[in-house]
């Protein structure tokens, strides 16, 4: 069992979310940087979809009441176990009773903790993820919460000492694929999007990354009929400033999507910090 001592700005339980229910209005949810959660799980011998903990800008502390193997991935939050520093992307042993502390990452936004056996809070619609848009799953963690850990007996061995992970760039370049509604925009809108830097604004969250920069001009007025939305969509509200949809995005929307992030760029989008400058390219 893991006891939450401090949480930092936002700490939630996340697995790989609730696919398959979008037609009922249920967001996909799950780890915003799913690649990082999968890696953390593999490092401790878990199935990739086991639930772990997602930290936003670190700042948390957890007390382990039983010994465990853990791995921390994603934004490189300085990790201390029982007061001693440990590296990221590496399985670490936590003795019973030890305090595990997460500092402020020097880059990126979201860090992930996997614990061998997985966090086994109750499932809602097949997932343990906290969905901040629709309030499904457990509430965000608060001091005093206790997280159960599943059994490790049927898991594979821990076989890797450290996984090589490229550093998070200062100015990420995100690749986009035009459409599905690029024809709702003026001819130079896509050119503007892919040639000018945008800045991440502080009102970004797990629903979406809000951006500041040159507005994207519409070629037509009127309202789009509401249609299904994908993770990574760049939805453009009337302000002309695109929003990148992340894990907790609404399932349908009525603003046109000028472009969608290429799948390999989704983890980078989930690691964007307020104030950071980014570039899009085709």
């Amino acid at each position: 069992m893991i006891e939450v001592v401090r949480t930092g700005p936002l700490t939630t339980v996340q697995d790989l979310g609730r696919p398959g229910h979008a037609h009922l209005g249920v967001p996909h949810s799950g780890a915003a940087d799913a690649r990082a959660l999968r890696l953390a799980n593999r490092l401790v011998g878990n199935p990739e979809g086991a639930a772990g903990v997602e930290f936003t800008l670190g700042g948390a502390a957890l007390r382990f009441h039983a010994s465990a193997w853990i791995a921390v991935t994603g934004a490189p939050a300085p990790l201390r176990i029982g007061g001693r520093a440990y590296g990221a992307n590496s399985p670490c042993h936590v003795p019973a009773g030890a305090l595990v502390e997460f500092g402020l990452p020097a880059s990126g936004l979201r860090s992930y903790l996997a614990v061998r056996g997985g966090v086994t809070v109750e499932e809602v619609l097949g997932s343990r993820s906290t969905d901040l848009l629709s309030s499904l799953g457990p509430d965000p963690l608060k001091p005093g919460d206790r997280l159960p850990v599943g059994p490790a007996r049927d898991l594979g061995d821990i076989t890797v000492d450290v996984a090589p992970v490229p550093p998070i760039p200062d100015t990420p370049v995100l690749r986009v694929l035009p459409g599905p509604r690029e024809d709702w925009f003026s001819r130079d809108a896509l050119e503007t999007l892919t040639s000018t830097p945008y800045t991440v604004t502080p009102d970004s969250n797990r629903v979406g990354v809000r951006l500041d920069g040159p507005p994207l001009a519409r070629a037509r007025d009127g309202e789009l009929s509401s249609e299904g939305m994908v993770t990574g969509a760049l939805q453009v509200p009337p302000s002309g400033l695109p929003i990148i949809f992340l894990a907790d995005h609404p399932t349908t929307g009525g603003y046109p999507v000028i472009a969608v992030l290429a799948s390999p760029s989704l983890p980078a989008a989930a690691q964007l910090r307020p104030g950071q400058t980014i570039h899009f390219r085709l």
Binding site: L24, S134, R181, G228, S263
Partner: protein, 204 residues
């Protein structure tokens, strides 16, 4: 039907109208091609989300050959939703429409509805079929909390709030029917294409 790409793992199919969206949704679920994660009908579209790495060209090529059912609801009976019409906005809707309270209720309770699509919150169904006389704009300032079961209208739609949430729709009444229950499979009583009738209940 025009097929658009929504990134590298989804297709957005333009169906032109809601009925075709529902028929294509049903056809897709019946055919169940491999690699499909989600099928999301919209008013004039169906979004098909796939596992990464699924061959989208091959999927798009399947579309013209899919047999569309005549009736997306498969001839199922309408879901009957009992409503006590005592909503906080009845008087305002009457004023906005120039109808009496009773006429507002009669018109709302006598129409046949179809679930267009779900969104806004889990289980929140946008029902089409609302009497045009009842098409009113949403409130200028949304309520911070609308109770679960509230029956409401906005624009061309009516809905029942499946859970407590903020909301800007005009409240006509309330229903005790549990539309949304995460312990049920499926959790939502309503899905795209479901037909719905409201049944007037006396005040209890």
């Amino acid at each position: 039907m025009k097929v658009r790409r929504a990134g590298d793992a989804a297709l957005l199919v333009e169906t032109g109208d809601l009925a075709t969206s529902h028929r294509l949704d049903t056809a897709f679920r019946d055919a169940a091609p491999p690699g499909i994660v989600d099928v999301v009908p919209g008013e004039r579209t169906v979004l098909v989300v796939t596992e990464p790495g699924t061959d989208l060209d091959r999927l798009a090529a399947l579309l013209p050959g899919l047999p569309l059912p005549d009736d997306a609801a498969g001839g199922a009976d309408p879901v009957e939703i009992p409503v006590v019409y005592d909503g906080d906005d009845l008087d305002e809707v009457a004023r906005l429409t120039g109808l009496s309270r009773d006429e507002v209720v009669d018109r709302h309770a006598s129409a046949d509805y179809t679930v267009a699509y779900l969104g806004f919150s889990p289980g929140f169904a946008y029902l089409t079929g609302l009497d045009p006389a009842l098409h009113v704009a949403r409130r200028e300032s949304p309520r911070t909390a609308v109770p679960a079961g509230s029956v409401a209208i906005a624009g061309p739609y009516t809905s029942v709030y499946p859970s407590r949430s903020p909301g800007g729709w005009r409240l006509l009444g309330r229903s005790g029917l549990a539309l949304w229950d995460v312990t049920r499979d499926p959790p939502s009583l309503l899905r795209p294409g479901t037909r719905v009738r409201f049944v007037r209940e006396e005040q209890r």
